[in-house]
């Protein structure tokens, strides 16, 4: 048996070519027990991946392929919920402290966020492998020892990736020797970028788009073959026939990773309410005050509608979300920044009363259930608010500051 620990989805923009559902379906078809997601420098696909894997009876493993300061890659997997939180922290720091679209992870930041993470030494763009290929074995060992020091013997593995490129065979031999010298395990990966071989050309075209190339133009970033598909056990055994322990160790890593919960409304930040009140009370008070301001008085049927909406919002656990959005639009209003709530949230009288939208859902008799439907459990409502583009950064700064 075997588990893929290095997989890219379309959230590796202009790189991952197989849809999440295709990748998970292919893993289920191959009978794989676990499946990691390791997109470049982000966890945008994590929630969807988690749901799809769970539904398919596959253990989801959440991770990322981090870009280091020197541009090299490192594969990181969250062992548990703590690790997932740390990976979020690490990647957030990588984005915030570097140029837009150029996130970089540093060794000190790795040290800060290492708890709960498993580290694989990386693909052919990983520093360890690149150094090994250049014949700089001593430097590769030195770097690998630093990673070993951060992640420990059970948390650091040398990644063996054999996607049938020239030089792979030699690289893998030297990497296996390095692993032995360090006393750490090796794991087999396939740097999966698509579900089936016939999706190869999609990745190639995406690469051309990313690198601004015509289809006939050669480029080092373009894949040279169609091997980065989600291979089954038999195909991986054929490639790693000389190193079966690398396949076994993928299960060792998968076993270390817990199947923990992520996503859902519980991850909405709590709104800091004044002492002596609760978030639902505050939202109710604000909604009634807003309704009086909008309508002058609150007739019985309007009150019933507000009560209904507030009950659903509370039942679904979205109270803090509404308060946060209200807080942001209040800031915009105070600062004279033009904004408009749009989309299905315009079907909510509460959103209208709070000043989030300017569409009178009560008089227009708009159906609240178009916005929030209790039958769609745990689906966070989507409140779209547009801000004047000239002042949008001010709003962003305010949100970050809060």
């Amino acid at each position: 048996m075997f588990a893929h620990l290095h997989v890219h989805s379309p959230f590796s923009f202009c790189d991952g070519a197989g849809l999440e559902r295709e990748l998970v379906a292919r893993a289920a078809e191959a009978g794989l027990p676990a499946l990691a997601l390791t997109d470049h420098d982000g966890l945008s696909g994590a929630v969807r991946w988690h749901r799809l894997c769970r539904a398919a009876g596959i253990k989801p493993i959440l991770g990322a392929e981090a870009t280091m300061e020197d541009g090299s890659h490192l594969t990181l997997l969250a062992r548990d919920r703590r690790g997932y939180a740390n990976l979020c922290g690490l990647l957030t720091q990588a984005h915030l402290e570097h140029e837009r679209r150029e996130p970089r992870v540093t060794i000190p930041s790795l040290a800060r966020w290492a708890e709960g993470l498993i580290c694989l030494s990386g693909c052919r763009r990983g520093r360890v492998r690149a150094l090994v290929r250049r014949g700089a074995g001593d430097q590769a060992e030195e770097y690998a020892r630093r990673l070993l020091g951060l992640f420990g013997r059970e948390g650091f593995f040398i990644e063996l990736q054999h996607d049938l490129y020239p030089g792979d065979r030699g690289d893998l031999g030297r990497l296996a020797e390095l692993a032995e010298a360090l006393g750490v395990g090796v794991v087999a990966t396939n740097n999966v970028h698509y579900a089936t071989r016939n999706q190869f050309f999609v990745q190639d075209v995406l690469t051309c788009i990313r690198e601004h190339l015509g289809i006939e133009e050669p480029h080092a970033a373009r894949p040279i073959n169609a091997e980065r598909w989600l291979k089954g056990v038999g195909e991986m055994q054929a490639v790693f026939a000389r190193r079966p322990e690398a396949l076994d160790n993928t299960l060792r890593v998968a076993d270390q990773c817990e199947d923990y919960e992520i996503g859902g409304a519980e991850y909405v930040p709590r709104y800091p309410v004044p002492v002596g009140t609760s978030a639902p009370e505050l939202l109710r008070r604000l909604a009634l005050q807003g309704a009086r301001r909008r309508y002058g008085s609150v007739p019985e049927d309007l009150r019933r509608r507000l009560n209904h909406e507030l009950a659903v919002i509370e039942q679904m656990g979205f109270v803090d979300y509404f308060l946060i959005v209200w807080d942001v639009v209040e800031f915009a209003r105070r600062e004279g920044i033009r904004y408009a709530g749009r989309g299905s949230c315009a079907d909510s009288v509460v959103a209208y009363a709070l000043g989030i939208t300017n569409v009178d859902a009560y008089r227009r008799r708009l159906r609240f259930e178009r916005f929030i439907n209790p039958s769609r459990l745990n689906t966070l409502p989507d409140i779209d608010v547009d801000f004047d583009s000239r002042r949008r950064d001010d709003v962003g700064e305010y949100v970050v500051g809060r």
């Binding site: 292919r26 049938l164 490129y165 020239p166 030089g167 792979d168 065979r169 030699g170 579900a195 089936t196 071989r197 016939n198 190869f200 050309f201 190639d204 289809i215 006939e216 894949p223 040279i224 073959n225 169609a226 091997e227 598909w229 291979k231 089954g232 038999g234 195909e235 054929a238 490639v239 026939a241």
Partner: protein, 88 residues
């Protein structure tokens, strides 16, 4: 080419059979798939010198179904192999 248990054991170069002592490397390339070029399999072998040989795979790498073309040393062998070059 001659194979035994899926491994190359002999290669005929310039009309003479030479024993394959080691497979030093193997890889695949899809080539110009947009022009319908077939995927190629390459072997770098030590056989009285180091030679790179290749063959076109029957099935194009981008059109085969999942798992249709098996990679690695146990790949289906047949057909014609060609010499790409020899190293000094």
């Amino acid at each position: 080419m001659r194979f035994s248990d899926g491994r190359p054991v002999g290669v005929r170069l310039n009309g003479h059979w030479r024993q394959v002592r080691r497979v030093l490397d193997l890889w695949r390339e899809t080539g110009r798939w947009w022009e319908g070029e077939k995927e190629k399999q390459f072997l770098r072998v030590e056989a009285g010198g180091v030679h790179v040989i290749y063959r076109a795979l029957e099935q194009s790498g981008v059109k085969g179904a999942a798992g249709a073309a098996q990679p690695g040393p146990s790949a289906p062998r047949s057909e014609h192999w060609f010499l790409l070059g020899s190293e000094d």
